[in-house]
Amino acid sequence: MNRLAVNLPGLALKNPIMPASGCFGFGEEYAKYFDLNQLGAIMIKAATLEPRFGNPTPRVAETPSGMLNAIGLQNPGIDEIMQVKLPKLGAYDVPIIANVAGSTEADYVAVCERISQSKHVAAIELNVSCPNVKHGGIAFGTDPDVAFTLTEAVKKVSKVPIYVKLSPNVTDIVPIAKAVEAGGADGITMINTLLGMRIDLKSRKPILANQTGGLSGPAIKPIAIRLIHQVSRAVEIPIIGMGGVYTVDDVLEMYLAGASAVAVGTANFTDPWVCPKLIDALPNRMDELGMTTLETLIKEVKAGR
């Protein structure tokens, strides 16, 4: 029996570790560094209907134990993703989660409908939380009613399970989580980045051309843990946790908070091999902590609530 295996809607994961959207491109570059078949799943870069250049540069800045990014959903558009990017990933035996963004409900519906027809897509991650573009969907992730309507709409057209990606930039995340569950979401992924800024002392201007950017990395981990803890108590659907995961202890802390699988974003930039390393290190650390299988751990955490 594979003690790292986890079963989620549409996702039979051989292990719980997957690179987070936007931090792994469409996998091609990392394929030069390690065998992608090792991964539990891959969350690919956001797809939009039309190609997008994204925001002007600089697009990244460093912060204490974190970073800001304002890539702005750069992507080649759904056509090229369907025709070029996804088939390449099809060569691997790894479930692909397609991150979908848009600025109108119609956008979301159109992209979800089409991308869910790709035989290479196992699930969709509905990005209603990108803080970096004016109409990048964050409005959909901060209002429960809007989130409900959108989830319902994409569920109607999608052939694969829908995971809604929640934003931490809200006063109360629980109503939003409940709304997407009520709208039919099969799961939740969380958290997206927190809105932040850095200002350059010499130019006196924000370092990012977009002024603000999304804060990620270990700095936000305690916020992610708190939010996952809150949401896992409020909904029944599973959560894929993320936000500052660097170590195997971080992975297990996400589980104890209530996650069923774990995505890794920023850490890929510090160490491109971080995902396979985490997968390798999990069994030993689980032994030390008396954890038999991840499925058992998920049940124990649920029971302990």
Partner: protein, 258 residues
């Protein structure tokens, strides 16, 4: 192999805030092209992003390479604290550097650099000379105080220097230098330096056999995150991009929007 804990062999201050670090490791075997860069993890656990620093010299016979960097912020300041024997987490070599193939034996290359853009030009110049190319260097520095490697470049070919404050060489920036000194069009031109320098080069050499190296804030350094993009000049839609980290840092002058 693309990552290694390399060992610091020596560290030397070349000028105020400018340091030369000599590293050793098996990664040196992979280092071939001038202006490829190393993506260096700063040994400070609150700094997550690696720093791109160009190779200034590759010494395969000693399994050593040299980088030259200026203290700009916390990361480079932490590098300057390292001592011989310390370990450094290095990824690389990364990127597409200067192609010595762009010029033939016996031809002449102009090598144009400014300030902390000068280091990668040293390995370039060495490789060109080895190939039998005649090199002429045109360098701009802020002041006499921060000039480095002048003697080393002189061993390879003519060196003309301008300083912003006139404290050494010609008074002015590299643009002036090119106008005054570089009378004829070279067979090839390679440039690395500030945006001002690159614009000066672009305005004079666009369309010619000329190449320059770009800087960009990076995260992954290997093409996955799209932090480091620039626009393609040839693309009317504005949607296509080139990534400085893996499609650059060297581009043909005119290929990208500065």
């Amino acid at each position: 192999m693309l990552q290694e804990m390399m060992t610091v062999v020596a560290q030397k201050r070349l000028a105020p805030k400018i340091y030369e670090m000599r590293l050793t490791g098996n990664l040196v075997k992979e280092m071939k092209q001038p202006d490829q860069f190393l993506h260096i993890l700063i040994p400070r656990s609150d700094l997550l992003l690696r720093r791109p620093i160009s190779l200034a010299e590759i010494i395969p016979e000693k399994k050593e390479c040299i980088i030259i960097y200026r203290i700009e912020g916390e990361g480079t300041a932490a590098l300057a604290d390292l001592k011989a024997g310390d370990q450094l987490d290095v990824m690389g070599p990364l990127g597409n550097g200067f192609q010595v193939e762009a010029v033939q034996t016996g031809q002449t290359a102009y090598i144009v650099g400014g300030g902390i853009g000068v280091p990668p030009l040293y390995e370039l110049s060495k490789q060109l000379v080895k190939k039998g190319v005649k090199v002429k260097h045109f360098f701009g520095f802020a002041s006499k105080e921060v000039i480095f490697y002048e003697a080393a470049f002189k061993q390879l070919g003519e060196v003309t220097i301008a300083t912003d404050d006139g404290s050494y060489g010609i008074h002015g920036h590299v643009g002036h230098l090119l106008d005054q000194v570089a009378e004829t069009a070279p067979d090839v031109l390679y440039a690395c330096g500030s945006k001002g320098l690159l614009l000066a080069v672009e305005s004079r050499y666009e369309g010619q056999n000329a190449y320059f190296s770009l800087e960009a804030r990076m995260a992954c350094g290997m093409g996955a995150c799209y932090a480091c993009v620039c626009h393609k000049k040839s693309d009317p839609t504005g949607n296509e991009s080139l990534k400085v980290c893996d499609e650059g840092p060297v581009f043909k002058v005119g290929e990208v929007v500065l």
